[in-house]
Point group: C2
Chain length 353, copies 2
DNA sequence: CTGAAAGCGCTTACAG
DNA sequence: CTGAAAGCGCTTACAG
């Protein structure tokens, strides 16, 4: 079998140079020369070189280019969790759709860091920083990212953009505005008469989790009250979740994970409650496509595809030597849509406002 | 913004060498040396170097390694159609799941060629051959591949594996056995009493399409008959498909694309037919997850995740300098499962065998 | 036991 | 107008 060591007889610039009767540097110039340098090469020579390049089907070795100091139009994509197993696919698929289409637009290839050792279900960024460097820049995807790791990446000067808001200083990102979206849903509930609001949030200190919680808590605070239940849950102890919920006397329940919302709604119905007549439930993300069919949740719909494409577009601008991206454009926040579903209605006990 | 030209002050082997008080080549040796070369370096020196490497968080530049002639544990993934738009996602997702998990196992990163110009809905492989070379080897995914392009790739010596059977000489692949799977479904229909068999196949000369058709035609031939309808259709003119089907008098219809099967079943029901009482329908692939809910088709279930992981495993073996893959192991065929659904039953008109 | 040196294929000042 | 040369950061014979 061919081995990668000796790429058969790879066509190089030197070979092209021989064939065209010029020096290797002239070949390189014809390929990459800036306009002013190029203009000094007679059109005839240039065309001859180009013709030979075409005939020989020559293409520059990207590793050599990279080593010589130029970009390769290669964007790294680092996912903190494996992307394709169906569990995560629904989270990543829409992001990747946006990233891929933008990559096509901008002429970038994508480097997926799939080799990074997974410990505790998550990939470690810096064990992989070597591979990172193969790319011109990198996109970071994941619910939670280590702040000090991010700061170290910033410091290293390696160009990157995170998807999702990040506290760490100097981190460029494209994020959904969960605060406003959640607050808006709280406001809608309030207007329907809900006063007892509960939140089941993910057991994580990721910024997006904090944002959704802050959106809810702050909006209630503005109206002079606070949630009757704020509970971190990974959805593994549904009975405990349900008990806590019932004790709280909440009339509307916000649940961060759609699958979790579905499970809770099943539990509620098993106890004879009707949704939304007896209990309103709001999900803070779109359900995954592969999920069991459940109620059509009233919910937050983050613009995932757009997050992906905008993140790559931003990275593209950062990488473009011709543009200097103003600091205030390094952090982009996109509005979060609200999808009207069938699980939010006026509370039974407080219909009389 | 930092530009990729000057990786800030990247730590290099030279720097490590200075810090450890050894030469740069010793650093490299400690990092990559074969056992016998290494054994000549005193354990003390080795440990000192390793300690400095760790402290300085040094990682080798992959571009330089690649240029110096070693692999980068980088596998290219070339999809003839964009992978993530939801239309193709269901085709690619399972493959990518298998590929990703195997990549993790083997310690490979994945290079997605997303920049290749798309013309006529398909990417051109050789316009991209440059980028191909960045990877140690490449996986080719797509329904249809240009035979001469494949042969050229074989000839170039670049290591690759196609997913799906390919006629072109010398092409290593991992494929599902559509012939046997389809034949088995024909046999089942036959045993139920079906004698008038129709096939609506994709309008493509891709090997997998030909295989499914051959499986059906040959199995019928073995039983001394032939299909009453063999129709290429891309599903755009359903009425014509339906008319042809009705004229054929078929009692069982094989449809290659699940979405197409769904559309036809709708049409049949609209005309008052019951499935499978009045017409059996068999799909030759699993429906995509995102699709509308339809009948639970009796169908072929190609082992897509396994195809992905086996393809990468095979490529891994091809790339491994320590192993020589025997020629007869360069083409792997995996059995195609059959999923019992609710759309195959004995024909009404021929229940009396 | 360890280092100096060549070479991988490029790009880019710098000479002529 | 075009070429020789240095350099990118590595690996790997080859000297000592």
């Amino acid at each position: 079998m061919t081995n990668p060591q000796n790429g058969s007889q790879r066509v190089t610039q030197r070979r092209i140079a021989e064939l065209a009767g010029v020096s290797q540097s002239t070949v390189s110039l014809v390929l990459n020369g800036k306009a002013d340098a190029l203009s000094r090469i007679p059109a005839e020579t240039r065309e001859r070189v180009l013709r030979v390049i075409k005939e020989a089907e020559y293409v520059a070795d990207p590793a050599a280019r990279r080593l010589a100091g130029v970009g390769n139009r290669l964007i790294g994509v680092f996912t903190y969790e494996p992307a394709f197993p169906s569990a995560s696919l629904d989270f990543y698929a829409a992001l990747l759709t946006g990233i891929e289409s933008e990559a096509e637009q901008l002429g970038y290839d994508l480097l997926l860091f799939t080799s990074a050792p997974v410990s505790g279900g998550r990939r470690s960024l810096f064990h992989e920083s070597n591979r990172l460097r193969l790319a011109d820049g990198c996109l970071l995807l994941g619910q939670e990212m280590d702040g000090s790791e991010l700061e170290r990446l910033v410091e290293s000067g390696f160009p990157f953009v995170a998807i999702g808001r990040r506290d760490a200083a100097g981190v460029p990102y494209v994020a959904a505005d969960y605060v406003t979206g959640t607050a808006e849903l709280v406001a809608r509930s309030w207007e329907l008469g809900h006063r007892r609001v509960a939140l089941l949030h993910l057991d994580s200190t990721g910024e997006s989790v904090l944002d959704r919680r802050a959106g809810l808590v702050d909006e209630l605070a503005r109206r002079g009250t606070e949630p009757v239940l704020l509970r971190a849950s990974d959805g593994h102890d549904l009975d405990a979740d349900w008990a806590a919920l019932r004790d709280s006397g909440a009339t509307v329940l916000f649940v961060e994970a759609p699958a979790h919302a579905l499970a809770i709604s099943r539990l509620a119905e098993a106890e004879g409650l009707q949704i939304p007549r007896d209990l309103s439930i709001i999900a803070l993300a779109d359900p995954s496509r592969g999920t069991e069919i459940g109620p059509d949740f009233t919910r937050l719909s983050p613009p995932r595809t757009q997050l992906g494409s905008e993140a790559l577009a931003l990275l593209g601008r950062i990488l473009d030597p011709r543009t200097e991206v103003p600091a205030d454009e390094l952090r982009i926040t996109l509005p979060c849509a609200i999808t009207d579903g069938a699980t939010l209605a006026a509370p039974r006990t407080e219909t009389t406002r």
